[in-house]
Symmetry: C2
Subunit: 230 residues, 2 copies
């Protein structure tokens, strides 16, 4: 692969050339289709991935057969880094939400390179810190909030990530998003999501079609998320 294709990403921007080439010696460019799995829960992890284009989610299958979405990743994110560093098995499955372009690299090499180039390690610290913060937020939500609130919050968050403002001021969520997806993201069932969405649709808060949602009154959702009266 071309050297500059990675140089452009912030993450490796300032690597000295020798280190950069060492890391890249193991790199493979990879593309996967929407819905395809990058890796499966339980597989041995030797490599990790830099997501260059597309979005994907980390899903955990529970023994009881439920699926829980742990996190979703966007461009610039490193995926599977932590487990690849320890060559543990992947604790979850990574599934592409759309067509993705990734660079696969050796976990062991990343260790080496981080040890020799502190700014890179510090950047990883920042990334992990941000994710930990998100995870803590979700723990708080799951512990203390009701499904309605969590759902509303999810939609508002998605609006920031993939929202496209329409001419009439409404926000179209530009991604395939089934009731099942929302259920997995919020620890509930698709039936409950369905009921909630139709209720909100009746109130004119949003428009929910098959796998696509448009927010008509985002403020109303924010109010619900924060449990404000009215």
């Amino acid at each position: 692969m071309k050297a500059h294709s990675l140089k452009q990403t912030e993450f490796f921007a300032d690597l000295p050339l020798p280190l950069y080439e060492r890391l890249m010696s193991s790199a493979r460019l990879q593309e996967i289709e929407s819905g395809a799995l990058l890796f499966r829960q339980g597989e041995p992890a030797r490599v990790f991935y830099l997501l260059q284009r597309g979005r994907l989610r980390l899903v955990q299958h529970t023994p009881e057969g439920k699926d829980v979405t742990l996190a979703t990743f966007g461009e610039g994110d490193l995926i599977g880094l932590i487990v690849a560093l320890n060559s543990e098995p992947y604790p979850a499955t990574a599934e592409a939400l759309e067509r993705c372009e990734l660079v696969a690299m050796q976990g062991a090499l990343m260790w080496e390179v981080m040890l020799q180039h502190a700014p890179l390690a510090v950047r990883v610290v920042r990334m992990l810190a941000a994710r930990l913060h998100e995870a803590h937020e979700r723990i708080r939500e799951l512990s203390a909030e009701r499904v309605q609130q969590r759902l509303a919050r999810s939609l508002v968050r998605l609006a920031h990530k993939v929202g496209v403002e329409q001419a009439d001021g409404s926000i179209y969520l530009n991604m395939r998003l089934s009731r099942q997806d929302l259920a997995q993201m919020n620890g509930t069932t698709l039936e409950t999501v369905s009921r909630t969405l139709t209720a909100w649709q009746r109130e004119g808060i949003l428009e929910a079609k098959r796998e696509q949602i448009t927010l008509l009154k985002p403020e109303a959702l924010i109010a619900i998320a924060d449990d404000l009266p009215n």
Copy 2:
């Protein structure tokens, strides 16, 4: 404070002396009593802490007045590092579970030192990775498991952390542990915890006194946590 008091901790063990002294120039030794607060949610964070002795927990107060325990820390853990690095306000309150000895240091200095000594940054990466993993586990549990299972899992985990095996083979949890505490750790109410514990006590699985619990049949709890029949 004496230089060797920090040298002994793994975290700063291999720092070159100049860096070490630079970091330590801002260090203050601090002791807090059980129940005292190290910092409060919303306070501006300029310093972070290395926990040298004792245990403490990170609690988040929700707008509705509930408390959620996000994580608990033991000896060797760094607390408030991430927020101190960005000098954000603390997103949660840190409360001592027992008498604690800590070293407070400047967040800004830590940035500098990490940038100049990669092994330290890498060690922070490892620590954050471990915490992220724990957080993901809790998300899965809160999303997919029922209160009983989560409670059972909590007790088993606590047995590993603070369990003391008794002569008769039972495991005494060596810490003050109220129903309320367990409720906050598992996203439920103290009443539900109380009912569950008394039920388990009737079945001879454990003995639950006031703020202290002894596990009589840990295997039974593991079975419940994993939702095995019987």
